[in-house]
């Protein structure tokens, strides 16, 4: 019977239990106060009903200040305690474990597109192994969407022009609803997918039988060559007769570092910065370089940008070449 009339969603992630605990305690507090008020009102409504020849009493018999302080103080304390607890759960849910597997998601009217680190692409379905923290890096091709898996108690808006991340670790194998929770147009309500949480063995099997392309990083590297990014952003050791050939900064070790721009301001080279540098390269030129990079707007899809980002992230500073990285060419050389 309860399958037709469920009162509670499945809890299938490591965070779900924390959220549910918060929920139950809140429901308990709410029920207590609701019935407390309802009981008082009912009692007063009955005991103090108007009668003929009634002598008026007065609530003025009650001492105002102590009562007001009490019934301001109690809600205040409960509120602050619950705030602290809620914040703690939120922090936990926001802090992505360092060893999380990195997946990409792109929202589009009206579908979800996923890229596995292993190279598998899926639409509206997402297969993941249980017991592994999964980090999704998400962006949108058009409007704001919101990635929502009720069984995992996770939700994060997917905003065009920015990257947002969400992480979860499934605890139970199963198939779970994936909803778009932010109104995104005509078919918002059918922008529904499924998350399949598989045991690690089943996940390996599924990967093997699936249509696996090259891993995301590898396709990122291929794109990097195909789009001729490498022409300018080439390896740090490409020096000919002591003159650097590179027309753009090397990208090894750049990800996550602070960059000083021509304008003098600084920016952290994160996903959004890299995306912006591909789509709108003139807007954030690193100090010491010429604004010569063409835009790739319209030539690369969001998935391809994701692959490029994943590739750039993977580039590490070669041990021998570190001194070259910090030396930009002079202007005449680059011009």
């Amino acid at each position: 019977m309860w399958s037709d009339f469920p009162l509670f969603p499945r809890a299938a992630s490591t965070i779900a239990r924390d959220v549910d605990a918060l929920y139950f305690v809140w429901v308990g507090i709410s029920l207590f106060f609701f019935f407390f008020i309802a009981a008082l009102i009912t009692t007063f409504f009955i005991s103090f009903r108007r009668r003929a020849g009634h002598q008026y009493g007065s609530a003025g018999d009650l001492k105002t200040l102590p009562l007001e302080l009490t019934w301001s103080g109690i809600p205040l304390v409960i509120t602050l305690v619950m705030f602290g607890w809620g914040a703690q759960v939120f922090f936990e849910a926001s802090r992505t474990p360092a060893d999380a597997d990195s997946y990409f998601a792109v929202g589009k009217q009206w579908m979800w597109k996923f890229q596995h680190p292993e190279g598998v692409r899926e639409i509206n379905d997402l297969h993941i192994p249980v017991g592994r923290p999964i980090k999704l890096t998400m962006t949108s091709e058009d409007v704001i969407h919101s990635f929502y898996v009720p069984a995992f108690r996770v939700k994060k808006d997917v905003v065009p022009g920015r990257y947002s991340t969400v992480w979860f670790e499934a605890t139970e194998p199963g198939r779970y609803h994936l909803f778009c929770a932010e109104f995104c147009g005509t078919e918002h309500s059918v922008m529904i997918g499924s998350v399949y949480a598989l045991t690690p063995e089943d996940y390996e099997t599924w990967l093997a039988t699936g249509d696996t392309g090259p891993p995301v990083q590898v396709s990122g590297a291929e794109l990097f060559d195909q789009l001729s990014c490498s022409t300018c952003h080439q390896g740090a050791d490409q020096i000919d007769d002591g003159i650097r050939l590179a027309r753009g900064p090397h990208l090894e070790g750049v990800f996550g570092t602070e960059r000083t721009l021509v304008s003098g301001s600084t920016v952290v080279a994160d996903e959004s910065y890299i995306r912006n540098s591909i789509i709108n390269p003139q807007s954030q030129i690193v100090a010491g370089w010429q604004p010569i990079m063409p835009t790739f707007k319209g030539q690369v899809t969001e998935e391809q940008i994701n692959a490029l980002i994943d590739y750039i992230k993977s580039l590490e500073v070669p041990q021998t070449a570190q001194q070259n990285v910090v030396a930009p060419p002079n202007a005449s050389n680059a011009g």
Binding site: D4, P6, F8, P9, V19, L22, Y23, W26, S30, F34, I37, L40, F45, F48, R49, R50, H54, Y56, S58, A59, G60, T64, L67, E68, W71, S72, P75, L76, T79, L80, F83, W85, G86, V89, F90, F91, E92, A93, S94, D142, V143, I144, S146, K155, D157, V159, P160, G161, R162, H177, F179, E182, F183, G185, T186, E187, H188, S189, V190, S283
Partner: protein
Amino acid sequence: MSTHAAELGSNYLTNGFSLKSWLLTKDHKRIAILYMISITFFFILGGLFAFAVRLELLTPAGDLMEADTYNRMFTMHGVVMIFFFLIPSIPAVLGNFLVPLMVGAKDLAFPKINLASWYVYNLAGIITLGAIFMGGVDTGWTFYTPFSTTYSNSYVVLTVVGLFINGFSSIFTGLNFIVTIHRMRAPGLTWFRLPLFIWGHYATSLIIMLGTPVIAITLALLAAERSLHLGIFDPALGGDPILFQHLFWFYSHPAVYIMILPSMGVISEIISAFARQKVFGYHFVAFASIAIAILGFLVWGHHLFVSGQSVYAGLVFSVLSMLVGVPSAVKVFNWTATMFKGSISRETPMLYALGFIGLFTIGGLTGVMLATLGFDVHVHDTYFVVAHFHYIMVGGAIMGYLGGIHFWWPKMTGRLYPEFWSKLSAGLVFIGFNLTFFPQFVLGYLGMPRRYWSYPDEFQVLNVLSTAGATVLGVGYVMPLFYLTYSLAFGRAAGDNPWGAYGLEWETTSPPPTENFHHQPVVTGEAYDYPSLEAKSV
């Protein structure tokens, strides 16, 4: 005193019967009646849209109407109900009628601006209706970018032009209230002798004056972005879609308090009148209104908990949002204590007031739940939120509005409403309301997102309950329309003060004369001085 009307032969209703005498009136009481007619029209319209939405959700498949039609239905329900009913309802109808009466003034400070506000409201309504009848708008009442600026192919600009204009009617009303309350109080009516209805309207007017210009600017920017592609909100042009959400909620969250604070004022009046008691902790209730108005401006970011805003911004908005619960709780406890040792009668307005406390308590508690960071992530943009804000905005504002209409109906019309039908309607509204919206809390925790035209099968039973409740609620809402109209012709004569209530508005005739009072009233007692009233009548 009830013989005054007979002696003078004229009250505000009988002072001219021509259409012109109504359409060019500068009498705040007539303008209140004009507003009541317009607002009732929009309430019915918004209700019909709501009913279409609930009917569609009776079955999991989207089988009653097209997805686009459904999206337009819930959008127009939101736009009409919020901007043309909930925000203006109590201030423009009850506030317009009662603020001058309660402070002992002849009229509002700026009668012509008051009349203009009604015309501006109707002009805005006509423009928005124009957008609706040309095909409607499908963005949701929140108009989130870049959907509204780039992707929606509906009448976005026309709609926001209507809402932009509508903002001026709010501002006119708020301005009038603030000046009237400051400058036109009767001799002896000090700030702390003011009825709490006036405090509620004062706090509301402050929000209106400070907040409405922000939504006007936001909507103007939205229209400019959509027409001229300036790159304010559109990321493809270097704009920031999240900026729109900040600007939008900076007004639209306080707007909830525009709806609820006047209603709280109404409830304070009704409970003290029907319990024959001073409102317990008058000063605390008055200051709670001001505290809610101020805090209300600092909490908009809780609408952006899952937008990708920083965790630390989330912390600040969370704790401030939760703190709004404290003055709200204080009010509930004070209303309850007001009944202690009272002499409580069970008239219809009192039933509405008690219904208000019940619904507001549920709405308030779930509001504090939603402000809790870890919890909100799961239920954000689900039916849990839909249920919560209906409990606050509809449960709060409409229970207050209907309670207030019944309470002051004898003053406004000189007639009593039929007791049996009004009690039945109050009961149906309360039961229907809970049956409609309580299942939606469960639906939300189960994970049903809002604004869905079709949904997975397991959500059906709760949706059926909700639609059934909406039917009962609809009947409850429609009934007053009939029996109140009926009472205009056939209702018993009310007399000046049928409830034995305390307050300046009850000291004049029913209906009041055009100039409100035959003699300038002088206030010598505290607000809600029921013991002295009792002593006088003995």
